[in-house]
């Protein structure tokens, strides 16, 4: 069942299945968010949130809700969505499920920047700009090295993945090296940051990630159209009159920006960017616009991981420990379901 919307020169097509999947995921993120506000060592009823926002609430509950849990939930959803989008963008554009920013070095670049900031300034205060700069710089380097000058098609997908994996390994080793050169306290800060954590996030972090997502929304709405064409081979894309080199450059910039934003507020949470696209694609019909669904899956995985990390008693675990624990089985379950159906 497919609906076609036409309004003047505007026209769009929506399949019912994709619409339902989108709404279902949205509902899950919403209930997940409310549940995360409710759960924790200090129990707060989800209904209390409204009272707290209005201001009629005792100070302690208000503080826990608005200063601790709400920013954390907002950052988890925002960063998860940005990771999911970034992964789905690279995977579609490069036609390869391996090509997510946590594999091709962009997350490693941001991490290395963050580690350097902790080493230089002794605290996690200046991590944000340094992580952002590290991610963007790495992306620029990988792009220059992988750019194909000869054929005029711009980025070569295979080269980008190979160069990116090389960059990822080099930067990971550099981070380890930096960590071994410093005192225990800083090394512990670094280790925590490198796993990806949402501990002690405030509303400034939430504003940063949500502001970024909001600004990029029109771009993302446009992006779906060229991106779905880029899943076909170069000759077809160029035959359709799309400018391959320019498109690839613009799309890479968008993907890197999203990944860098997410890493700078949540650390290099592993696996979120990698898993969101494939999971979304398996929930939706083939050829469907995958970005919105990937964002929601990313948000769900991150929110789930962070809430799980929060609920472990005594120790403050980083969310990054749980993203892979939650994400990997989901992906495997979907893959096995497809093997069973003989679809793969």
């Amino acid at each position: 069942m497919t609906y076609t919307l036409r309004l003047g020169t505007l026209s769009l097509q929506l399949a019912r299945r994709n619409l339902l999947v989108g709404l279902g995921l949205m509902l899950l993120v919403l209930t997940g968010g409310l549940a995360a506000l409710h759960m924790g060592s200090f129990p707060v009823g989800a209904a209390d949130l409204w009272t707290a926002l209005r201001g009629d609430m005792e100070d302690i509950t208000r503080m826990i809700l608005l200063d601790h849990r709400l920013p954390r939930v907002l950052v988890a959803v925002g960063a998860g969505a940005a990771f999911g989008l970034s992964g789905a963008i690279f995977q579609s554009m490069l036609r390869n499920p391996m090509a997510s920013p946590d594999v091709i070095g962009f997350n490693a670049g941001a991490s290395c920047g963050a580690v350097l900031a902790i080493l230089l300034f002794g605290s996690v205060r200046f991590v944000l700009p340094w992580a952002l700069a590290g991610g963007l710089l790495t992306a620029a380097l990988v792009l220059v090295l992988a750019w194909d000058r000869r054929r005029g098609t711009g980025l070569d997908p295979y080269r980008l993945i190979l160069v990116g994996i090389g960059a990822s390994l080099t930067l990971g080793a550099t981070s380890d090296l930096l960590m071994s050169m410093t005192d225990e306290q800083r090394a512990a800060d670094m280790a925590q940051w490198l796993t990806g954590t949402l501990n002690a996030r405030n509303l400034t972090d939430a504003a940063l990630i949500w502001g970024g997502l909001l600004l990029l929304t029109p771009v993302l709405l446009w992006l779906q159209f060229p991106l779905s064409r880029l899943t076909m081979n170069d000759d077809i894309v160029q035959g359709f009159g799309l400018r391959l080199a320019g498109l690839r450059l613009v799309i890479t910039c968008i993907g890197v920006l999203l990944a860098a934003l997410a890493v700078s507020v949540a650390g290099p949470l592993p696996f979120v960017a990698f898993v969101a696209g494939p999971v979304a694609r398996r929930l939706l019909g083939t050829g469907a616009p995958v970005l919105a669904a990937a964002a929601l899956v990313g948000a769900l995985v991150t929110l789930g991981a962070d809430t799980a990390a929060r609920l472990v008693p005594v120790v403050q675990l980083p969310a990054g420990v749980f993203t892979a624990v939650i994400g990997a089985p989901v992906l495997m379950w979907l893959l096995v379901a497809q093997f069973r159906k003989g679809a793969l």
């Binding site: 076609t4 036409r6 020169t9 505007l10 026209s11 769009l12 097509q13 036609r95 000869r150 054929r151 005029g152 709405l221 446009w222 992006l223 779906q224 159209f225 060229p226 779905s228 064409r229 899943t231 076909m232 081979n233 000759d235 077809i236 160029q238 035959g239 359709f240 009159g241 799309l242 400018r243 083939t286 050829g287 679809a343």
Partner: protein
């Protein structure tokens, strides 16, 4: 030569590293005709076709589309006049025929205009022309080779261009499916006066289904013209190094190559 055709190459050269693939070559694709590009492997057939569709970076010389150098024209505007179906095209797994054909509308669409009334009409027309009516919800992976090739042709047709270039459309098809596909091309050409150019390996089929033959050898045009003028024992010897006798096809009177 009469008036300038819509699509032509002038003194076109293409080099890969130190290897010259096309060497100052000039060809015309007669308007409203079906042209076959033939020649031995690695003679530059595909490179010529891809160059004519501005998919290939070229050296000196130029491709002229509608009186202007194709490289200087807006690529989307070119795509509304010229469609090319490349060799072994790739689609995402599980894509349905309908979605594939709809993608052929890309040059007429934008992010804000993804399914206009014209798009729907062009897709329906392309499905009918290729005999894929009623199969549009099937996934591409479930089709036979012949059906899949028809689906790709339907995508190129939905692009709704007067010029259609096909790179080896019959490769990997058995003889009945090759005939079916070439009949389809012929019918399209008759009904809509589309100009078609395709790379073909089978000289006898080229002679039977095409109005114009371009024979390439080593990046040069050996000869171009009607099948009767081009397909000769001398050409077969010089281009393919194949000694043969040419007889008239008893059914269609077109030249028929019998290797000796």
């Amino acid at each position: 030569m009469s008036a300038q055709p819509r699509l032509a190459a002038r003194d076109l050269s293409v080099r890969f590293a130190h290897n010259t693939v096309l060497d100052q070559l000039s060809v015309d694709l007669p308007d409203g005709a079906v042209t076959a590009i033939v020649g031995p492997n690695a003679c530059g057939k595909s490179t010529l076709l891809r160059s004519l569709a501005r998919l290939q970076k070229t050296g000196t010389g130029q491709v002229i589309l509608d009186g202007q150098c194709i490289a200087s024209q807006n690529s989307k505007s070119v795509a509304r006049r010229l469609a090319i179906l490349s060799q072994s095209p790739v689609a995402p797994e599980g894509l349905t025929i309908r979605d594939l054909v709809l993608r052929g509308r890309t040059p007429h669409q934008s992010a804000w205009r993804q399914h206009s009334v014209e798009d729907a009409a062009a897709v329906a027309a392309a499905l009918t022309a290729t005999g894929l009516d009623g199969m549009e919800h099937r996934s591409l992976d479930t089709l036979s080779g012949g059906q899949r090739q028809r689906a790709w042709i339907a995508m190129a047709l939905a692009q709704d261009t007067q010029l259609l270039l096909l790179d080896e459309p019959t490769t990997f098809l058995d003889l009945p499916h090759q005939i079916e596909l070439l009949e389809l091309v012929r019918r399209l050409n008759h009904q809509t006066e589309r100009t078609v150019a395709m790379v073909l390996h089978d000289i006898n089929l080229a002679a039977r289904y095409c109005d114009h033959i371009i024979a390439l050898r080593g990046g040069h045009v050996h000869s171009q013209g009607s099948p009767k003028d081009v397909i000769t024992e001398t050409m077969m010897q010089e281009v393919f190094a194949l000694p043969c006798t040419i007889i008239a096809d008893p059914n269609h009177a077109t030249p028929h190559v019998i290797p000796t």
